[in-house]
Amino acid sequence: MKIHEFQAKALLKGYGIPIQDGVTIEDVEQAEAAVDQVSKELGADQYIIKAQVHAGGRGKGGGVKFSSDRASALENIRKILGMTLITHQTGAEGRLVKKVMVAEALDIKQEFYAAITLDRAKGMDTFMVSSEGGMEIEEVAKTSPEKIVKEAIVPGFGLRSFQARNLAAALGLEGNAAKQAVGMFQKLYKLYRELDCSIVEINPLIVTKQGNLVALDAKINFDDNALYLHSEVAEMRDLDEEDPSEVEAGKYNLNYIKLDGNVGCMVNGAGLAMSTMDIIKQVGGSPANFLDVGGGANVETVKNGFRIILSDENVKAVLINIFGGIVRCDRIANGIIEAVKELDLNVPVVVRLAGTNADVAKELLANSGVAIISADSFEDAANKVVAAVKG
């Protein structure tokens, strides 16, 4: 799960980590009060107006603006709130900005990068820092990997002081700034571990002209498996930032991801679902979605799956690929027949069922009177659905 910058900063603040603070608003009517509050409570006379969306690259897209006084802050709030922000992570359709953070502007002396995430190969969390703050870290990793310094965290031991000192030294910090960094890094790891984060990223982490270490931005993602342990985190979820059909699918325990093709797919199991998308592409088609109906597929899941797939207007045909292990294919077939009758489908549906009771299922489909194109193998199904799209 992702959260906004202002939410991530609130969590950091709760752990005693210095942040660039501010006030977040959703309505332009609140603009004056917000600017005045930042001025009064934080002593700011210059401001940064920051779009709050779940996507990186906000600055380049025009979603982050420096404002040298109150009037320009108000103008920038009006510009950014309600704009459609396009960044390399939003896709061409962009993202509507529904919230902005009015933040204090700080005098920056140095910019760094700091992040914690899981190193899968090592099976350990990794704390990494780089002197190349403010940059895309993927770019730094590619062009000058020696500028990223890492400390692996031994499970159960947390980030040790000597490791935090190593990281601070790698950034060239000395004296008071180094001391601040050691404290901050240990608090950051504590937050990461206690809240079951999958990534905590501070980019940039700055040293101000006054010599203070401050998190200027913050990105935190959480492990979905652990949200049940953290209701206060789960409440931070912003459904406005997610695709509505994906949210709808989630309500039915379906795992759906919208793509930009025209062949709708309904499959049981994530690996088989990905492979089904792959084979559609290989035979000249283009998948409209990833949809894993899971191990316990039944009549209701099949119906809901159809509803979700068909809510995408680009879909010109649907491929159902089910390998019945524990799930019985005849039950799936009944679900398909019922759904096709009930939902008044107007696109061709290709069905491939294999495994438990596949023969019974094929007979059910053949005798049902509903227009379904039956396929024998994985490949046959892909060819038939792509042919159906092309008419």
Binding site: Q89, P155, R193, A270, L272, A273, P287, G324
Partner: protein, 292 residues
Amino acid sequence: MAILVDKNSKIIVQGITGSEGSFHAAQCLEYGDNVVGGVTPGKGGQTALDGKVPVFNSCAEARAETGANVSLIFVPPPFAADAIMEAAAAGIELIVCITEGIPIAQMVEVKAYVETTGSRFIGPNCPGILTPDEAKVGIMPGFIAQKGSVGVISKSGTLTYEAVHQLCSEGLGQSTCIGIGGDPIIGATMRELLEMFEADPATDAIVMIGEIGGSMEIEAAHYAKDNVSKPVIGFIAGQTAPPGRRMGHAGAIVSGADESAAAKKKLMAECGLIVVESPADIGRTVKSTLNK
């Protein structure tokens, strides 16, 4: 011969009194497994599966009473990490955890702990292990497989069934099929299982089914290059997956250039693996490789 499990495996089921655990334990029993006991804390002394299987309070007790060497875990996510550690602490040699949805930070600690014991661990969030006609330790449907000499290692569930189905259609049976799971932190890796299949005289070829995300396939391919003499036929699911999106499995997400299907396939081919482009060609490719 086979790897990991065979007809002599003595199996206990942790979580045998739950709905998942009792359903699948019954299926294992029906397949012919030696399910010698179950573990549910607080229900020791009862029986499960219509009186056929004794239930114990702890793994240690179950092991002492039955001599079990394999544990199959269906314990719900909040308690599963503890269940894995309990099995390892009791000295169970092979632990297979089916449970989906265990917090990743807990798995980091569990994996580190299990490595300090002598136990081998498969999963979590996996379909388990099937040695056709001998033992089914997990949820794979037994009827789809047949005895033979192809070893199967996979991150997936139903895609494994698909591959096994294709192998059988070509008249090729399997020595052992293992679903290792698609989570970011899992027990036995592809590399470890390649090593076991290489040493297994009953295995002539190995199918390795990976997916986007992580670097396990790469590590396995590098290992195979110098250490595996048997043909390895590899497939990577997720060629069409967009970067940064999690495709079902918690681990199936492209978060760096090396984690894409294209990058993995390229490296696998460079290491001498036989890379299958279409998921429909897995069975055919193994057949043609073995006929060479």
